[in-house]
């Protein structure tokens, strides 16, 4: 049982009927993918590529036309396959009339938690997502970023071993986005498996161990990020405090060895880092 991957999708196909016709539209076609325990897996693809449908099948919200999806070895159609799963949907919408604490209490109860254990978990999670001060505010008054954070907290309420995040940073500002990324990294450190779908490639590149790319419902590429992105015949050197003379000598050495210098430029920071420094986050 322990050898089972966190998520195993085999030959997954999903076709939706077109109303009033006999036609079927294929959303996912013969997809195979494996998310190993403890890794961060990014499911990439343009809009309408089948990412959300695949996630919904994994979570038992939609039934596959053929093939299977398993979570820790259990068929995703079984309720207990979700015992140790946390899910944050895209643009989450919760009951506006509940406060942050009430929301987490509600979702905690749905996971079978109660009493002091639930109470403590709520306090810890509100602290983790930085909503302690807003805990008694109704969700109707929360900003989009705060809703995303309470969404993350509810996804973690049962201390899950698998966290599924559908576009977790959609509509979140750079600081909030960085917090979510840090949280994902923290989850990985704690051995939690993360399956996330996104089309923000930069972010995926920062946190994912492996990625799968879906296009038109088919998994067109899958693998370790460094392997997929590596350019076989190129090597990058980043030098600090290099004098002009040293740079010249490196160029000469390359020329002597029949290697071509493809690019030479001054290193830059990322726009995100620059933005965060400027806004002192």
């Amino acid at each position: 049982m322990t050898a089972e991957p966190a998520v195993a999708v085999r030959g997954l196909t999903k076709r939706f009927p077109v109303p009033f016709t006999r036609r079927l539209i294929s959303a996912v076609e013969d997809v195979d993918l494996t998310v190993n325990r403890g890794e961060v897996y990014g499911l990439l693809g343009p809009n309408g590529s089948g990412k959300s449908t695949t996630l919904k099948i994994i979570l038992g919200l939609v039934w596959p036309t053929s093939g299977s999806a398993k979570i820790f070895g259990r068929d995703s159609g079984e309720v207990h396959s979700r015992d140790s799963v946390g899910f944050l949907p895209e643009n989450p919408y919760f009951y506006k009339f509940l406060t942050g604490t009430e929301t987490l209490r509600f979702f905690g109860k749905l996971c079978g938690l109660h009493g002091e254990q639930l109470h403590q978990r709520i306090i810890d999670l509100l602290d983790l997502v930085g909503l302690t001060n807003a805990r008694e505010q109704r969700l109707a008054t929360y900003s989009k970023g705060m809703l995303q954070r309470i969404g993350l907290a509810q996804a973690l309420i049962n201390d899950p071993q698998l966290v599924v995040l559908d576009e977790p940073t959609a509509g979140v500002d750079p600081a909030g986005s960085r917090d979510i990324r840090d949280l994902i990294v923290d989850l990985r450190k704690r051995g939690v498996t993360v399956l996330l779908s996104s089309h923000l490639l930069g972010q995926v590149q920062e946190v994912c161990d492996r990625v799968g790319i879906l296009a038109n419902g088919k998994l067109v590429r899958e693998g370790k990020l460094e392997e997929l992105l590596a350019i076989e015949n190129q090597t990058e050197l980043v030098l600090e405090n290099a004098s002009e003379d040293l740079v010249k000598r490196v160029q000469e050495l390359a020329r002597d060895a029949n290697a071509r210098l493809v690019a030479q430029r001054r290193s830059t920071t990322t726009l995100e880092r620059f933005f965060l420094d400027a806004t002192d986050e």
Binding site: L59, L61, V62, F87, P89, Y93, F97, F106, V164
Partner: protein, 285 residues
Amino acid sequence: MRRTLAIASNTLTDLTRQRVFYFILIFALILIGSSVFMSRFSFQQELQILKDISLGTMSILTSLLAILATARLIPQDIEDRTAYTILAKPVPRYQYVLGKLLGVLGLLVISLFIMSALFFAMLYTREQTLLSEAMRQYATAPREQLEDALRTVRAAGLKIDIAQAIGLLFMKASVLAATTLLVTTFATTNIFTVITMVFVYFIGHLQEIAREYWLQQTGNGWFTHLFLALVALIFPDLQAFNRVDQVVAGHALSLGIFTQTTLLGCFYIAVYTTLAVVMFYGKEL
């Protein structure tokens, strides 16, 4: 069970914060408004009309509340994707559907309780006033006439039968809530659900007639026979729960009839809820 109760309690909180209790305000206004015209009638008529108007209003309002409150529950959760978050937890779909229904039933209990309290207070007050008036009017009349007048007022006043009739109104509203829940599992819009339920409401009150014609096996054509059979088998017999007229007229509601009708209500609720659960299991979110 804890999960079902969590969903039920959340549904009840949701509904109570939707200002549905305006229904009760309407009831209170009708109750107060009706009392303005009461003085024109005799003692017995006054109490009977008060009961008639109050129980009739309670019946319509609780039926409306059951349909309107239930119609939006599941579709709204799906539209807002709250259902995704809930069902992505280890929550079996039957517990979700049951929780929603229990939340609505909770709302109906609270609404009926408040309306009944208002009604009972009004009825009791009027009964006491009328008893005093009768004693004043018949103060000089023979003792038998006074006792007769007091007996007439008491007979038309607050009695256990009224509570039983209200209990059956609750059963009727619960049957409507369960039926509405079933319709929402395949309806595509709220308006479709409400319109369908308006038909169910009216046909449900005629179901008894259709059933009797169907069972009589008279020489109708096969189409008529099939139509009557469908009405009799698919729709709930809502008329069975209408014992208001009987109670208003002062006829006793026997425990047997009350128990039998309550069991019929439970049967309908069980059947429609089971069908709703089956439909919801097949629903892709």
